[in-house]
C-alpha cells in the first residue's frame, strides 16, 4: 500500500495544476492587490531627515489623515513625479510626509534643495528596513493613511495629475465623508 503513496501524492499535484490552469483563464496574474489596504499601517519609528535626533512614530501621527510619499535622490521616476508634488501638493488637502528611502542623508537634502521641498515633514529610512513592512518595492510609492492609522490607498509608481484627480482625490474625499 505504501508504494501507492507517490502515486496519490502526484494525483493531488495534478489536481492543483488543473486548478491553476482553470484559475489563470479567469484571473490576471499581474494584478497584485496590496494586502495592506484597509489594514493598519505598520508600526514605524524613523528619524527626521533634517534632525535625526527626533523620531517620528505611527502613534504620533494618529489623529489626522496624511500622505506618505516614498522617494530617493537616486530615483529617476521620483524626479519626474517631483514637479507634480510641488504644484499639486498644497491642493491635495492632507499633509504630505516624505519618506526618504535607502538614501544618503546629505544627498537627499541636496536633492530637496535643488528641486524644492513639497513635504511638511521628511522621515528617513536609510537601510530600507521599515519599507519592507510597508511592502515598498521601489520608489516612488505613495500611501494614504487615515486618522486611525489605517492605509486606505496605495499608488505604485509616480503620481501624475490624472492619477491624483481620478484616484487620490476620491480616496481623500471618502475619508472626509467618514469624519464627523
Amino acid at each position: 500500500m505504501s508504494r501507492l503513496v507517490p502515486f496519490f501524492g502526484f494525483l493531488l499535484l495534478v489536481a492543483l495544476f488543473g486548478f491553476g490552469i482553470w484559475w489563470n483563464t479567469r484571473h490576471d496574474q499581474r494584478e497584485v492587490p496590496s494586502p495592506l489596504i484597509n489594514k493598519p499601517a505598520p508600526a514605524y519609528a524613523l528619524p527626521k531627515l533634517d534632525d535625526p535626533a527626533q523620531t517620528v512614530t505611527r502613534e504620533a501621527m494618529l489623529g489626522k489623515p496624511y500622505l506618505i510619499n516614498v522617494f530617493a535622490s537616486w530615483c529617476v521616476a521620483c524626479g519626474e513625479e517631483h514637479p507634480v508634488l510641488m504644484s499639486e501638493g498644497q491642493r491635495i488637502g492632507v499633509p504630505l510626509v516624505g519618506y526618504n528611502y535607502k538614501d544618503e542623508p546629505d544627498e537627499a537634502k541636496a536633492w530637496l534643495e535643488r528641486h524644492g521641498n513639497p513635504y511638511g515633514l521628511v522621515i528617513a529610512d536609510r537601510e530600507g528596513r521599515t519599507a519592507i513592512d510597508f511592502g515598498v518595492y521601489g520608489a516612488p510609492e505613495t500611501f494614504l493613511v487615515d486618522a486611525k492609522g489605517v492605509i486606505r490607498y496605495k499608488r505604485i509608481g509616480p503620481l501624475t495629475p490624472a492619477v491624483i484627480e481620478r484616484e487620490l482625490k476620491p480616496a481623500i474625499a471618502a475619508l472626509r465623508k467618514e469624519a464627523p
Binding site: R3, L4, P6, F7, F10, L11, L13, V14, L16, F17, G18, F19, G20, I21, W23, N24, T25, H27, Q29, R30, V32, P33, P35, A72, S73, W74, C75, V76, G79, K102, E104, E107, W111
Partner: protein, 656 residues
C-alpha cells in the same frame, strides 16, 4: 516551401517515434526479436527527421524567412547571425524543438552504445524513450507549431527578447536541456527494469554513467543560467529562487540524490525501490519544470508566452507519463527490501542521510514554488514565499550533508572496517576549519555568514584533500585515482568552493545605488569608483549610452569599466552591466537612468557593487559538473559490461 518540409519532417518523426515507442515494447513483451530490432533504426530515423526540421528552422532564421510566424516574431534584419541562430530556441516553439532534438541525441547515443546490453532490455529502454518523444512531437505539432506561416509576409520581423541577446544565454538552454532530458535515460532504464521485473540490479550499473553525465550537464546549465542572470539582469544577484530557477534546481537535487542511491544499489544491492523511485522523480521534475515554465501557471521573471491549451496538453502528458510510471512502480517495484545489511557507520548510511536531506530539500523547493498556487486554491489570497523561506530551510537541510561530506570517501561499504580514520579526518579538518574561521572572524569584523562560510568550505575542502593525500601516499602510481573516485572528489571539493562563494558573497558584498555627476568619486570596499560621464555607443541592432567608470585603489588605476544602457530596435531597454572579474572579488557597475533626460552628459543613477568571492559560486558548480563527467568515464562501467555480456551470453546458450 522549405518550412513545409520542416513540418513534414516533424510528422514523419512522430510516426517513427510511434514505431519506436510501441513495437519494441510489444516485441519485448512477446519475445519477438524482429519487433525489438525496430527500436534502433526507428530511433535513428526519428533523429534524422527531427534534425532536418531543426535545420529547416535554422535556415529560415538565417535567411530572414519572415513568412514563418516564429521567425518573424523572434528576429529581424538587424539581428546578427549568431543571435538569429540562437533565436531558434529563443522562444516557446523552438525551445520545444530543441528539447526533442536533444532527446534524440541521447536516444541515438544510447542506441549506439548499448550493444553490449541484453536486447530485451535495450528494446524496452528505447521504447520508453520513443513514447516520451511521441508526447513531445505531438505537443509541438498540435499546439506549438514553429513552422506556422504568416501571410502576408511582413517586410521585417520583431526581435529576439533582448535579455536573451547575450553569449551566456545562447548556451544556457541547450546545456540545461542536455541535463533535463538526460534524466530521461535513467528514467527509461528504471521503467524498463520495472517492466521486465529485473530481479538483478545489473541495470543500475548500466544507468550510472548516463545519470552522471546528465547531472553534469544540468549543473553546467544551472551555472550558465546563474551567471547570465548575474551579468544580464543588472541586479548583481546570482540566484533568485524564481519558479523557473527552482524548476531546474529540483531535478538537480533529486539527481544528486539519485547518483548516490545508484551507487548504493549497485555496490550493495540495497535501496533498489528507492533508486527506481528517484529515477522517476528526477525525470518527472524535469517534465514538471517544462510544465511550470510553459503553461504560465506561475508568474516568473522569465516571461514566457502562456496559453491554457498548451498548459492542458502538458498537464495531460505529465499525468500519463508520471502517473503511469508511479502506478507501475506501485505494482511492480521490488517487494523485498533486498541487498546486504547496512552497517551503522558505513558509506551507505551516510549516503542514505544525504539522500534524505536532498529529497526533502527538493520537496521543500517544490512546496515553496507552488505556494502561490496553493494560496489561490485554498483561498488564502495572494501569497508568495521568497528567499527568506528558501534560504533558511535550504541551509538547515544542507548542514548534515556538509558535516558528513569529508567522511564520504573514508567510509567503507557495509559493516567491515572501523572508525579510526574518521577521527583523524574530523580532528584535522576541524582544526583547519576552526583556524580559518577565526581568521575570517578577525578580517571580516565578525560577519557571521562569512565565518560560517569559511568554516564549512575549509571543512569540506580540507577533508577531501586529506583523502587525496592518503591515496597518493598509499597507492602505487596509476592506481591512485580511478575516474569514478576522481569524479567524486572533484564534486565534493566543488561543494566546498561553492559554499565559500555563496556565504562570503552574501556576507561581504557591498551594494550601493548612487547618483553620480561626471568626475564624482564613490568609495566602496576600498575601491574608488570615478564616474567619467556617458557617451553614445551603438551596436548592430541597438543604440546605447555607454558610461565610463574608472576604478582606483590607493590611487592606482585598477580597471576602466563600460556599463551600457541599450535601446533595441523594437524599443526594449536593456542594461548591460560592466564587470571586472577577479578570483577574490568582482567589481560590478550598472548604468541606471540620467537624472535629467535632456542632459545625458550630466549626472546619472548608477549601481555600484563590490562582490567578494562571487566567482567561487560558479567555480564550485563547474567542479561538480566535472565530477559528474569524470566519474561517468570510469573504465569499470565499460569493462564490467563486457563481462556481464559474457555471462549473459553463456546463460542464453545454456538455455538454448
Amino acid at each position: 516551401m522549405t518550412p513545409e518540409l520542416g513540418q513534414l519532417a516533424l510528422i514523419l518523426a512522430l510516426l517513427l517515434a510511434l514505431a519506436q515507442g510501441v513495437l519494441p515494447l510489444l516485441g519485448a513483451w512477446r519475445g519477438n526479436g524482429a519487433l525489438m530490432a525496430v527500436a534502433r533504426p526507428a530511433a535513428a530515423g526519428q533523429a534524422v527527421f527531427v534534425a532536418l526540421a531543426f535545420g529547416v528552422l535554422s535556415w529560415a532564421f538565417l535567411h530572414f524567412d519572415f513568412s514563418v510566424r516564429y521567425v518573424a516574431d523572434n528576429s529581424n534584419l538587424a539581428l546578427p547571425w549568431y543571435y538569429r541562430l540562437a533565436a531558434v530556441w529563443g522562444a516557446h516553439e523552438g525551445s520545444l524543438l530543441l528539447w526533442i532534438f536533444i532527446l534524440n541525441l541521447w536516444t541515438v547515443a544510447l542506441a549506439a552504445l548499448s550493444h553490449k546490453l541484453p536486447d530485451v532490455f535495450v528494446a524496452r529502454v528505447l521504447g520508453v524513450l520513443g513514447l516520451i518523444a511521441v508526447g513531445f512531437i505531438a505537443f509541438i505539432l498540435f499546439t506549438s507549431n514553429p513552422f506556422e506561416r504568416l501571410l502576408p509576409m511582413p517586410p521585417d520581423g520583431g526581435d529576439l527578447n533582448p535579455v536573451l541577446q547575450d553569449p551566456g544565454m545562447t548556451f544556457h538552454p541547450p546545456v540545461l536541456y542536455m541535463g533535463y532530458v538526460g534524466f530521461s535515460v535513467a528514467f527509461a532504464f528504471s521503467i524498463a527494469a520495472l517492466l521486465g521485473g529485473e530481479l538483478e540490479q545489473a541495470w543500475v550499473r548500466w544507468a550510472r554513467p548516463w545519470t552522471n553525465v546528465a547531472w553534469g550537464f544540468l549543473s553546467a546549465g544551472i551555472v550558465a543560467g546563474s551567471w547570465w542572470a548575474y551579468a544580464e539582469l543588472g541586479w548583481g544577484g546570482w540566484w533568485f529562487w524564481d519558479p523557473v530557477e527552482n524548476a531546474s534546481f529540483m531535478p538537480w537535487l533529486v539527481g544528486a540524490a539519485l547518483i548516490h542511491a545508484q551507487a548504493v544499489t549497485e555496490k550493495r544491492g540495497a535501496l533498489r525501490a528507492w533508486t527506481i523511485l528517484l529515477s522517476i522523480f528526477a525525470f518527472s521534475l524535469s517534465l514538471l519544470g517544462t510544465f511550470l515554465v510553459r503553461s504560465g501557471v506561475l508568474t516568473s521573471v522569465h516571461a514566457f508566452a502562456s496559453d491554457p491549451k498548451r498548459g492542458l496538453f502538458i498537464l495531460c502528458f505529465l499525468a500519463v507519463v508520471v502517473g503511469g510510471s508511479l502506478l507501475l512502480y506501485a505494482l511492480r517495484a521490488p517487494k523485498v527490501a533486498g541487498g546486504k545489511p547496512f552497517g551503522v557507520v558505513s558509506r551507505e548510511t551516510a549516503i542514505l542521510i544525504g539522500n534524505l536531506m536532498l529529497t526533502v530539500a527538493a520537496a521543500m523547493v517544490l512546496l515553496g514554488t507552488l505556494f502561490p498556487l496553493l494560496g489561490d486554491a485554498l483561498n488564502l489570497g495572494k501569497i508568495s514565499v521568497g528567499p527568506p523561506y528558501f534560504g533558511f530551510l535550504f541551509t538547515l537541510l544542507m548542514i548534515p550533508i556538509v558535516l558528513l561530506l569529508p567522511f564520504g570517501p573514508y567510509l567503507r561499504w557495509g559493516e567491515k572496517g572501523g572508525l579510526p580514520p574518521l577521527k583523524n579526518v574530523a580532528v584535522r579538518a576541524g582544526i583547519a576549519a576552526l583556524a580559518c574561521a577565526i581568521a575570517a572572524a578577525f578580517t571580516t569584523g565578525w560577519a557571521l555568514k562569512a565565518i560560517a562560510g569559511t568554516a564549512a568550505a575549509v571543512w569540506c575542502c580540507v577533508g577531501t584533500l586529506l583523502y587525496v593525500l592518503k591515496r597518493w601516499r598509499e597507492m602505487p602510481a596509476g592506481r591512485r585515482y580511478p575516474a569514478e573516485m576522481a569524479g567524486m572528489l572533484l564534486a565534493h571539493f566543488g561543494v566546498g568552493v561553492f559554499l565559500a562563494g555563496v556565504l562570503l558573497t552574501e556576507a561581504l558584498s557591498v551594494e550601493r545605488d548612487v547618483r553620480m555627476a561626471p568626475g564624482q568619486v564613490q568609495t566602496i570596499g576600498g575601491y574608488d569608483f570615478r564616474f567619467d560621464g556617458v557617451h553614445v555607443a551603438d551596436g548592430p541592432n541597438w543604440q546605447g549610452d555607454q558610461g565610463t567608470v574608472t576604478v582606483m585603489r590607493n590611487g592606482r588605476e585598477i580597471a576602466v569599466m563600460h556599463p551600457q544602457k541599450r535601446t533595441y530596435t523594437r524599443g526594449q531597454v536593456q542594461t548591460e552591466s560592466a564587470i571586472d572579474a577577479g578570483v577574490t572579488r568582482d567589481l560590478y557597475v550598472a548604468l541606471g537612468e540620467p537624472m535629467d533626460r535632456n542632459d545625458p552628459e550630466g549626472a546619472w543613477a548608477l549601481r555600484l557593487y563590490h562582490k567578494p568571492f562571487v566567482r567561487w559560486i560558479w567555480a564550485g558548480g563547474l567542479l561538480m559538473m566535472l565530477g559528474g563527467f569524470f566519474s561517468a568515464a570510469d573504465k569499470r562501467f565499460r569493462l564490467r559490461r563486457e563481462a556481464e555480456q559474457k555471462v549473459a551470453a553463456a546463460a542464453q546458450e545454456s538455455h538454448a
